[in-house]
């Protein structure tokens, strides 16, 4: 039987490395939520775009409902509503619950599963690895937008490379 290290070198990235990558990005997004003044988090906008909290709700919805679907192959329409009551603390609480949910589901993804085709949220067909990368990329994309919001508010955002 191969050791973890031997198994890793025969592939580009292992499942546990991809989980660490995803959760590292999610942790940086969590720092971004913390960095916003609470009122600005739910109201501040540039160019008609959504406040950062609305983007965070999308990221949470995709991650929470997405990990379950990727593992079970059972999908429902994406629900973007979330009962945060415009509270930063509540949003962070839901964030942490989703972190745990991902960690719980993740070990059930077999290596073969990453190349199975699924229909994400009943709408978007793709391979599991590709949909997962889409979740992560979409988070980086919207978080990058949040960086502009913070900078334009005169607030220094967390460092992009600080994922822990």
């Amino acid at each position: 039987m191969k050791t973890e290290t031997q198994a890793n070198v025969s592939q580009v990235i292992s499942p546990s490395e991809l989980l660490e990558h995803w959760q590292g990005h999610r942790n940086l997004t969590r720092k971004m939520i913390e960095a916003f003044p609470e009122e600005k988090l739910f109201t501040y906008s540039i160019g008609g775009m959504r406040p950062f909290a609305e983007m965070a709700v999308e990221l949470l919805s995709i991650a929470s409902q997405g990990i379950k679907g990727l593992v079970t192959d059972q999908w429902e329409d994406l629900k973007n509503d979330m009962d945060h009551g415009n509270s930063k603390a509540k949003l962070l609480e839901i964030w942490d619950q989703t972190t745990e949910k991902i960690n719980t589901y993740w070990p059930q993804l077999s290596l073969e599963r990453f190349h199975e085709t699924t229909v994400c949220f009943g709408k978007y067909e793709g391979k599991v690895y590709s949909l997962l990368l889409y979740f992560v990329d979409n988070e980086i994309h919207h978080r990058g937008q949040g960086y502009v919001y913070l900078r334009s508010l005169g607030i220094e955002p967390p460092y992009f490379w600080e994922r822990l």
Copy 2:
């Protein structure tokens, strides 16, 4: 000998899939450069951040000098200067040259190489797969910032999922 498809299912993502992922993102960034009015590309800024052309130069520098370093393990300091003469056409020309350079170097990355440790640009130590993901993530991050620039200029950005 395993076929390409058989080899893929025994790993999260294959080298050729990761290349396609990277180049897909680079192609979307290329569309972003095209979407900016030429003068705004080199001058427009929010919150004291760099104009999008300066971010694009960083992305080009990292990709072009980075792929060579990841393959050869020979690194120099990152050079961020580029002779584009504030011309969008010239920037796109350099973009396309870099696309070709990546495609040329990529097949020289062995599967084992992705888990070798290297010192990127003589400064940032990490495994090759992790540094590569950093290149891609950094591009998504800054491109997301460019989306806010375009929206605040009243310009519809390209769709995030259009990578071809």
